[in-house]
Subunit: 332 residues, 2 copies
């Protein structure tokens, strides 16, 4: 592998000049630039990243923390982040924690030993105790979920408004008894969606009846959606519509309904959240809230870069969601 010295020798200039050309920084005569370019091409030279990073004390690398990658929700967020970072010369490392604390710590070490300049976090409990400390030491942006109580940059949709909109839509279809399937997790999105749901109920003059609420496991799994749906639909006065805080849960509820001999949409309307790919793979196709996932990622990346390069931290950005009408909802 050719080094900068080889290039300098080949071009008949000093290594300093070569460095100036590579980094397009500092005065160099057009003639030298030309010679250096020729030499670089001839030797097929590529700057050694370790030498550069050692010298510059920066990694030009950022981390993306994600709990798992099986969740199709993350894919285009990650693309949005990667594309945006790459444009600014940053590399990206996907840190898949699988909910495992020790893995998480291993990845955080990358920040401490300088292998990464900052991180985007895609999944965090609203009351997390550690993120505050981390954000004080490193540039951090939270995407989709965030920790309340600490002023750490975050970007997401307005979950409250989205849920409220769902209720408005459902009541406009004539539904008056509307159920809610949440999750016992600790995400701010779950909380906000429930608050928005309740607000929507109140605005429509409907009562907030605890018998209309059911909660799935923290993992949002399909199976726990079936359970929650079964629970809700087996109660005395059955809702005619159910809002679920995620598509997978909604799929579970539909299955539960089916198991109970109920038909969507004749007996029940169902609304999901996220608009993941398989929301359209089932029959009926799911009515759901779509989040601008690529933009969510892109915006997070932009905020992170700004933070890395100028140090400003904090504040929230909210992007537009969209209610997608499909086949799982109908007039009551």
């Amino acid at each position: 592998m050719a080094t900068i010295e080889d290039v300098a020798r080949e071009a008949g200039v000093s290594v300093a000049t070569v460095s100036r050309v590579i980094n397009q920084k500092g005065p160099v005569s057009p003639k030298s630039v030309e010679k250096v370019h020729v030499a670089i091409a001839k030797l097929n030279y590529q700057p050694n990243v370790w030498g550069r990073r050692l010298r510059r004390q920066e990694s030009r690398m950022i981390l993306i923390f994600v709990p798992n990658i099986s969740n199709p929700f993350y894919a285009s967020i990650v693309s949005g982040i990667e594309d945006t970072m790459k444009k600014d010369g940053y590399g990206t490392m996907l840190c898949i924690t699988n909910g495992d604390k020790s893995r998480e710590e291993d990845f955080i070490k990358l920040l401490y030993d300088g292998q990464a300049d900052g991180a985007v976090i895609l999944c965090i409990d609203k009351n997390d105790r550690n993120i505050g400390k981390l954000a004080k030491e490193f540039p951090i942006v939270q995407c989709c979920e965030y920790c309340v109580g600490e002023d750490i940059s975050h970007v997401s949709v307005d979950n409250f408004a989205a849920a409220r909109q769902v209720v408005q839509y459902l009541t406009s279809l004539g539904h008056e008894r509307i159920g809610f399937v949440g999750s016992v997790n600790q995400f701010i999105s779950s909380e906000d969606r429930q608050k928005g749901f309740e607000q929507g109920l109140k605005e429509a003059g409907l009562s907030v009846d605890q018998a209309c609420f059911a909660y799935a496991d923290a993992d949002y799994s399909f199976n726990s959606g079936i359970l929650a749906g079964k629970e809700l639909l087996s109660r005395e006065e059955r809702p005619t519509a159910i809002f679920c805080i995620s598509d997978v849960l909604a799929l579970g509820v539909i299955r539960a309904a089916h198991n109970l001999g109920l038909e969507v949409t004749r007996d029940l309307s169902v609304v999901g959240f996220d608009d993941v790919e398989y929301a359209t793979m089932l029959s009926p196709m799911l009515t759901t809230i779509s989040q601008p996932r690529y933009s969510l990622g892109k915006t997070s990346a932009q905020m992170l870069i700004r933070q890395i390069e100028s140090g400003e931290q904090g504040g929230g950005v909210y992007l537009e969601h969209k209610l997608i009408l499909r086949e799982s909802t109908a007039r009551h």
Copy 2:
């Protein structure tokens, strides 16, 4: 950030001794070890990776090439690779190409400029023209798919045998007219599954009738599965069972059947491949071939490490698949 020199000063020894302690290599007196450890703890010292990598000329980093992460098939393969690499002190970078040549090239550059020591490739055409050259320069392992014609290490299941087994199972249920939904992609797995399917047919004394074959788009998408299913099921003499080379395709076929007023399993049995999560999320749950995904990843990683550390390249390893019987198949 403390450097090795700070530690040496604090411990009252030379940097060489500190280095020996850190790397547990070379003779050091117990007393020195102790002193160094104390100093390291006191200063909260962490070796600078750039200095180390520059000096050692190695990255202890490997690449995983994956076309996308929305495909749930990849998640646990990736975990298998990451866990195994980490155990040997290697970091991992997930390179999501999204089928984009320029992205791919960006990632390959990481190999050329020394940011990574090798790569696991999760998706490659059987006739790829570039992988051979790459594998001559760097340690490479292909996982699940591989390029024929070049002797580059690979690990996968025996797709031929698996498909053949599916046919045996289907004929044992009394099916005599069995359809095949493939894809026009260029993966060795697709080819082998089709060959195995045809072999199974022959062994059962059934004819290989072109009217029983249909092909989905190269992207294996749900929609193209619907199309292929529709095509196949609309032909004159309809198959009573269909083997699909992927679960998503199988889901599409089931949907197509449903659209045509056919009922699985009364009118049609369907078998998939891969056993991805949502194979169980639909009704009926899918009968399918399960691949040992975590082990596939783990084995790939082990082969890659061996290759990095001792240079040996080539050869194939085949792991056991499993036929998972669920609800989408029945006696004819």
